[in-house]
């Protein structure tokens, strides 16, 4: 018998693994459409009770037990199923304990053993489901019901969770430990299972559930505050729309001004700089050094009456005709080179009967000398001839210059 069961179970699990894709599709989408999957596969899964059809023309869905297995194994946060049916678990445990006691009484050890195994299975699965429920609750709290969008939905989810918690707590209250210990009597196995084990788990769970309840209340308080603020704002706008001349009453005219409105005037202004405080000197100097006075930043930008556009075009060729004065000076330089003699500029001017003004001529000669590249300049010596100004000291009046080859 147990061999058959074993085989059947292995077969079922293998089927699950072989068609894992279909199962996960159904899990994620909620249902599976027969058109997209192999008909034979679907038929097989249906037969082994993995998929089922809730209504004749509904799509196929996963069986609750398979779904629960996946939800638990994947810790899926959308899972909000909680088995709060503590009452039936309690009566099952009680019934099985009675069976066991009867079998023991009748000295039917085989049956007693089977009942005890069954009982342990029930007790453990009950405590496990209880712990699992609490885990589910915590995971929903920890992400603040993040799987739903709006604040109203969060409030509803919170209320659902709260009702589940109170159901669980009510259920746990039904466990009368005195009754359990009475059932267990003085049978060691039963005492261990029902009194030590169960009792300990239950009191732990009760404690944890009250923590859950506290957190839920705290969360709902926050959600309500957010919701309250939104409503407050909308309500205020509605109210002012309905009563356009609405003005809040003068709440500060009463004898006792509400603390909320007791706002003091701003009295403090930045302190002034004390330039006589020597200890501030470094800081002040630093501040002064950072001052940049760029006055053009403060000037208003110029507005031109016309749009002045510049266009980039190719530069036209042009040449500057040589200045005849400059050419004449070049001649003079050449003359000095040719003759190799020291020559006065003014004398040269007179000798060649050039028409330039003496002053212009001198300036151009000096300019011509200074304008020479350094290596050429080194070949010449230029000496200004003149005397210090008779009245203003430091000025030197030039009458003439002399140029010769160095």
């Amino acid at each position: 018998m147990s061999n058959n069961l074993h085989q059947a179970g292995v077969k079922l699990l293998k089927q699950l693994s072989r068609h894992a894709d279909v199962v996960m599709d159904a899990y994620l989408a909620g249902s599976v459409s027969e058109s997209t999957h192999d008909v034979a596969v679907i038929e097989k899964l249906k037969k082994s009770g993995i998929l089922w059809r809730p209504e004749p023309d509904e799509a196929l869905r996963l069986k609750r037990s398979v779904r629960a297995l996946l939800e638990e194994a994947l810790s899926d946060e959308r899972n909000r199923q909680i088995d709060a049916n503590v009452g039936s678990a309690f009566s099952t445990i009680k019934t099985l304990a009675d069976h066991y006691k009867e079998a023991r009484h009748n000295i039917d050890y085989g049956a007693a053993e089977a009942y005890l195994a069954d009982l342990s299975e029930h007790v453990y699965s009950f405590t496990d489901s209880l712990r699992y429920s609490i885990r589910v609750l915590w995971s929903r709290i920890n992400n603040e019901f993040g799987y739903v969008g709006s604040i109203n939905a969060k409030i509803r989810e919170n209320e659902l969770a709260q009702s589940q918690v109170s159901e669980l707590l009510n259920g746990l209250e039904m466990f009368q430990f005195s009754e359990l210990s009475e059932i267990a009597g003085d049978i060691r196995e039963l005492r261990r299972l029902l009194v030590t084990n169960l009792q300990e788990t239950l009191s732990q769970c009760t404690l944890e559930l009250s923590a859950v309840q506290g957190r839920l209340l705290e969360l709902i308080g926050r959600f309500r505050q957010i919701q309250g603020r939104t409503r407050l704002l909308k309500g205020f706008l509605l109210h002012t729309e309905l009563h356009p001349d609405y003005q809040p009453e003068n709440h500060v005219a009463h004898k006792h001004v509400p603390r909320l409105f007791n706002c003091a005037e701003a009295i403090i202004k930045p302190a002034s700089v004390d330039v006589n405080n020597a200890s501030h000197e470094i800081v002040l100097l630093e501040a002064v050094s950072k001052i940049k006075a760029i006055s053009r930043d403060l000037l208003p930008s110029k507005v031109r009456e016309h749009n002045v556009e510049t266009t980039m075009t190719e530069v036209e060729d042009f040449d500057i005709p040589d200045n005849p004065l400059k050419l004449a000076v070049d001649e003079y330089f050449c003359e000095v080179i040719d003759s190799g003699l020291r020559q006065s500029a003014l004398e040269y001017l007179k000798a060649n009967k050039l028409e330039w003004e003496a002053e212009n001529w001198l300036y151009q000669v000096i300019g011509g000398y200074e304008g020479l590249p350094d290596e050429h300049k080194a070949y010449f010596e230029l000496e200004p001839i003149g005397e210090p100004d008779p009245i203003y000291s430091g000025n030197f009046m030039i009458h003439d210059v002399e140029l010769w080859l160095a």
Binding site: G235, F236, L237, H239, C263
Partner: protein, 227 residues
Amino acid sequence: MSEQSRTPSQTTASSETTLVGTGMLIEQLLRGEFICRTTNEDGWRALKNSTTFDKVEQYLNQINRTISSAAEGDVFFCGYQQLGEQEKKVISSQFKDICSALIPLVEWLVLVQESSGQDAPLSEGAPIRLTELQARIEDTPAFMEQLAKLSQYRLFGSTSSNVDNQIKLVFKRLVELGYLVKPNSEKQIYIATGKLDYLYEVIRFIDETEGLSLEAQAETATQRDLV
């Protein structure tokens, strides 16, 4: 440093670290600023610590000021310790300022909440990305109308018909008024301050004292909308 004698080393250390900032904290309070976690976290922590709180309070008491708090003790501001005629006048004018700012501010809060599709209205610490908000407003003509309307209130005083100018001015004013802070001057990200939480408390106070039942009004309106 008189506490040094009576406190164990750990608290001495903490009061010493907060001591440094007390001057700035008092200054901020006297400038009429609201201290919250967002505007001045160190100062806020200092006021949460009873030693520094007492120290600041003692200082303020000498000039007839006291530390007031709102939003369940998460926002601090400076109030008068005793109210004479002069102080009452100040409070009365401050109250008028708040009342005249209520409608523009509430309209702005609702606009921000609705355009960003959030459940929760802005509260302390919530960031606003100006460019995102502006894009959303520009996508919806109704939001643009709301912005145009509220930016023209005297509180904001915009005369522009351009969304960009309007929203920039509104945000600039809100920073000036202390409802927002802009932590990085180069980024268009603003963070709501505790002064907004104070504003909610003011509205709630008015609602409760005048029996306006604003929340109920809003609820019936939304239910009507749903029907």
